[in-house]
Amino acid sequence: MNNKIVFGQYINTNSWIHRLDPRTKLVTLFLMMIGVFLISNLYVLLGCLVFFFVVVLTSKIPLIKFLQSFKTIVMLIVFTTLFQIIFNRNGNIIEVKGYLLSFDFTLTWINLAISIVILLIYFLLMRYIKKGKGIIFLIVFFVIMFLQYKLTFGPVIVSSYNIAVFDVGLKTSLLVLLRIVNLLTLSGLLTFTTKSTDLNNGIEGIFAPFKFMRKGISILAMMISIALRFIPTLINESTKILRAQASRGVDFEDGRLKDKIFQIVSLLVPMFVISYKKAEDLANAMEARGYIPGEERSRINVLKYKLGDLFTYVFLIIFLTVIIFFKIKGVI
């Protein structure tokens, strides 16, 4: 009963960002993201990133925890950057110390066979590797490419295909990389400093002035808040079912994929029944307490703008004006 499941990545350090109104944070985040997308100058983007990191530091959130949140998306960043470099063939090939960054690869039966062996070993070892799967995969990838670069004798399948690094390609890839990191930093700033309930209140608060969509938004906000409320409850229920099924001999850990699918069914069916029953009970409780969907309700948590919000909005306006001004001038 007393094990608290923390949802989201909120860390309470009670900094000035924590104290900002969630509406301010949402609006600022959204407009800053658009602003970042308008910038197409590498140095300005880098400046923005440095600035955002300074803001992160002022939020007193441990930098390591903040960077750890990037971990899940690091592979995506690496691959988008690599693809940009490989497939964008505009401009000139980059020259480093008189040496062109252009490589010819040849796929032969011999290096193909070696590559397949390496891949097989990799997939066999995957079961025992817990950490760093992505890095190992990258290494394997480079080894295979290196084989095609150097080990080119034997019967040829695909002869000398070329991969080269072009200056425009490199620039675009860096641009994409910086933009993604900027966006991640911005959204991290929001999710680390705002409780999910506050976010929900914020979304509802932003749409409150729009009368025509208020009904839908209030229902949506109620749905989100109930979902947030019931996620830990359902997680608890699912652990209970897992244990109950395990005590009846269902093995969730090992086994072949086919067996695993059937085992998951033994979890899903009771979960579905339980959620359905809970939903009915909840609907009864809500109806008995006078909830009518879409009807206007008062709120106990009223959002109030403070001085910090004003400063944030003023800064936001300055930021956007400067960006748009220079964008029109064509400087950035």
């Binding site: 009963m1 007393n2 094990n3 608290k4 499941i5 309930t197 808040s225 109930i226 947030l228 409320r229 830990p232 409850t233 608890n236 029953k277 809970k278 009970d281 909840l282 009864n284 409780a285 809500m286 109806e287 008995a288 307490r289 006078g290 909830y291 009518i292 009807e295 206007e296 309700r297 008062s298 709120r299 106990i300 948590n301 009223v302």
Partner: protein
């Protein structure tokens, strides 16, 4: 007319037999009524019918003289009558609507568009009344079942309803939680009209009136002292008969002289239900 008046109520979920079978009942304002019955006797269904979560097949339920299933000028009577009714359900977890204790107590008030200041006052007042004042910012995951039920009670007290229905509110709690909730219910006696559906005979003995349901019909209705002596009918309704009650019965039927009989009977009664 009584506060709640049920006339010839009939209800069934599907084609199978009646869950509530031609039931008539009157409950006065301020009464504390306990409804007993084994599983499937229709007692929870009755509670849901009274608060308008289910619609009867036949018969009428009047609360404050209004038929709750009728419509007048485009407004369902139930929406008007709900202001006077609150219900605490069995499962402490699935009736917790808010994300924190504070939100949950305020939920009913929010639906009534009570102003924020009033709501905060009410939340403070009633959370204190149920002893949950220090828990206002907690999530439901951090509370025990008994604490969640106390929050549910606070939410209904905050709505200031005349009637509170406890639909097996203690059946999913641990003994400590049961004691807490029953103590709270006892405290409310006399202040509100209470209908308590329960398995707890201790609570039933405290009531002004005990109703025993069996197969959707009322088989016993009266003061607890009288009801608990009707062993045959209690047995028929599938209810436990207390051992002490059996002893009282034995003593009554034995040939001990009247004076001693009364002393022993009182002592046993005292033992079963310490007041």
């Amino acid at each position: 007319m009584s506060f709640i008046s049920i006339n010839n109520l009939t209800f069934k979920y599907n084609r199978k037999g009646y869950v509530i079978d031609d039931l008539s009942l009157d409950i006065e304002k301020g009464e504390f009524v306990c409804i007993l019955g084994h599983n499937g006797s229709g007692k929870s269904t009755l509670a849901k019918l009274i608060v308008g979560l289910l619609e009867p097949r036949k018969g009428h339920i009047y609360v404050n003289g209004l038929d709750i299933n009728e419509e007048k000028d485009g407004v369902m009577n139930i929406d008007l009558v709900r202001k006077d009714m609150g219900i605490v359900f069995q499962n402490p977890d699935s009736q917790f609507v808010g994300i924190t204790v504070k939100d949950d107590i305020a939920f009913g008030l929010e639906n009534r568009r009570v102003s924020t200041e009033e709501m905060i006052d009410a939340v403070n007042k009633y959370s204190e009344k149920v002893g949950m004042k220090d828990f206002l910012d907690r999530n439901p995951e951090e509370l025990s079942g008994g604490e969640k039920q106390r929050v549910a009670i606070a939410g209904i007290l905050a709505m200031n309803t005349e009637l509170i229905i406890f639909d097996e509110a203690t059946s999913m709690l641990d003994p400590k939680g049961v004691r807490e909730i029953i103590a709270l219910i006892k405290k409310l006696k006399g202040q509100k009209t209470i209908i308590s559906i329960t398995h707890n005979l201790d609570e039933a003995n405290f009531a002004d009136r005990v109703i025993v349901l069996n197969k959707g019909k009322i088989t016993l209705d009266g003061k607890p002292e009288d009801v608990f002596k009707q062993f045959d009918k209690l047995k028929e309704a599938g209810l436990d008969i207390l051992n002490n009650m059996k002893l009282i019965d034995k003593i009554n039927n034995s040939n001990i002289d009247e004076c001693n009989k009364k002393v022993i009977e009182d002592a046993l009664w005292e033992l079963s239900f310490p007041k």
